[in-house]
């Protein structure tokens, strides 16, 4: 929140415009790690030419935060796994991590997919949960950026989830069996082509909804906070600041909750869709 205020002030001062573009500029990806007033890190830009197609695979701000999240999640989980070697009873951070894993195992994976599939799907779903949660929370730190408020990131996660869902369904039911199972039993023959198209479309709408939901939720909170802080500079009066800051603080706390809820929902729905792909009996 401290840096948001500064960014708002700076951008408004520089652009002298009251349009909303500065908000978007703050949220979208960039090649700059902004640590004002301590300095600015310009990330290297390069392109990859592959079969005549130019790919911009430069390391952007969101890539840095993805890696940071991956590092945090990795060390946290490996630390937890190591702690079992020392003693059977987890302590401190390991205890918290284990509680979350137990929750994912007992409340998400077991009811939606089934007890015997836990070893095959918990690693994916658990990693998804911790990764998204860490990305969401990193965006709430000063100087942090929310990688999950970038549609490319959520699209990638949804794509992985989509692949996992189809893979799970096809492995259990066979490729042909899986597509046959998409159509519910007892549908009249003349409706079969339409139903097939609808169900196949449904396969794509599920991860699409996952992508949009995570992206929109993580973007919205930041937009609202920035807009509330921006109100002070747009109205050019300090008297609005208590209201702005109180509301921004409230939204911030709400975002803390949203960060957790969205990580949970993404995991929960992925698990549910995997379960639906595996248990096709309608």
């Amino acid at each position: 929140m401290i840096d948001s205020t500064k960014i708002v002030a700076d951008t408004l001062h520089n652009t002298e415009s009251s349009s909303g573009s500065w908000i978007i500029e703050h949220i979208v990806d960039s090649n700059v790690l902004d640590f004002e007033p301590f300095g600015v890190i310009h990330l290297p830009t390069f392109q990859l030419n592959l079969f005549g197609i130019t790919l911009h695979v430069e390391i952007t701000k969101h890539v840095v935060f993805l890696w940071l999240a991956a590092f945090i999640v990795g060390s946290l989980l490996i630390y937890t796994a190591r702690s079992y070697k020392k003693s059977f009873i987890p302590r401190g951070v390991a205890n918290l991590v284990e509680m979350i894993i137990q929750f994912i195992k007992d409340e998400i994976v077991t009811p939606t997919i089934g007890e015997k599939y836990v070893p095959s799907f918990l690693p994916f779903l658990g990693t998804v949960f911790f990764f998204i949660l860490t990305c969401n929370l990193l965006g709430l730190l000063p100087y942090g950026a929310t990688a999950t408020s970038n549609i490319s990131v959520t699209a990638s996660l949804a794509l992985l989830s989509f692949i996992m869902i189809q893979f799970a369904g096809m492995k259990k039911n066979g490729v042909i069996g899986y597509f046959k199972g998409l159509i519910p039993h007892g549908v009249p023959v003349f409706l079969l082509p339409i139903m097939f198209v609808v169900e196949v479309l449904g396969l794509f709408t599920k991860p699409f909804a996952l992508m949009i939901r995570l992206f929109a939720n993580m973007t919205a909170g930041h937009v609202v906070i920035l807009a509330l802080i921006g109100l002070i500079f747009i109205l050019k009066t300090p008297f609005i600041s208590p209201v702005s800051i109180l509301f921004a603080l409230f939204i911030y706390l709400l975002e803390l909750l949203v960060a957790l809820i969205q990580a949970y929902i993404f995991t929960m729905l992925s698990s549910l869709f995997i379960g639906m792909a595996i248990h096709q009996e309608h």
Binding site: I23, V73, A81, I101, P123, I151, S152, A155, S156
Partner: protein, 182 residues
């Protein structure tokens, strides 16, 4: 609906800035996200998830077995308690019987002792009575002799040899024998 259109307009308008808009998909970022996530998943699957899952399962097993053991121990304790209760009741019963027997025996013994004591006492009293009787007879005999002697002496003194001593004695003895017994 107008709100929705407004939102989309907002996203498209301000999302289409020079540096890339809100809804712009960046293939590079998709690439990095997928690579990062898959590497993270592969690393964690071996180093974290398997040990954690094994540990959770092991602990679940150990908790279950501990609970079962506790349940078994509780049952055993219950059985032992019941057995103890039963044997305690038996012991109590036995103790009561022993006490009763003892009481009975003591009663019998007391009665016997009392009756024997009574008998003995009676015997002693009888003996004493008999002794007294004999002593009395002896005393009487002695008394008679003394009286006879005294009478003789008295008579002698009175009569001053008027009679033959032997004759006299016989006479008085006869007299005493004729005295009423008392």
């Amino acid at each position: 609906m107008s709100f929705n259109f407004g939102l989309i307009n907002f996203l498209l308008l301000y999302g289409g800035g020079a540096k890339g808009g809100l809804l712009d998909v960046n293939p590079g970022l998709i690439f990095w996200t997928i690579v990062t996530f898959i590497i993270l998943l592969i690393i964690l699957k071996k180093t974290a998830w398997q040990p954690i899952l094994t540990a959770l399962k092991e602990r679940e097993e150990s908790i279950r077995s501990a609970l079962e053991k506790a349940e078994r121990a509780r049952k055993e304790a219950d059985e032992i308690f019941e057995k103890n209760q039963k044997s305690l009741a038996e012991a109590e019963e036995q103790v009561r019987k022993i006490i009763n027997e003892g009481k009975e025996y003591a009663n019998k013994l007391r009665n016997e002792i009392i009756s024997r004591a009574n008998e003995e006492a009676q015997k002693m009293i009888d003996n004493a009575k008999q002794e007294i009787e004999t002593k009395k007879q002896e005393a009487l005999l002695e008394l008679k002799e003394i009286v006879a002697d005294l009478s003789i002496q008295a008579a002698e003194k009175i009569l001053e040899e008027s009679l033959d001593r032997e004759k006299h004695k016989k006479l008085i003895e006869k007299l005493i024998q004729n005295l009423p017994k008392g």
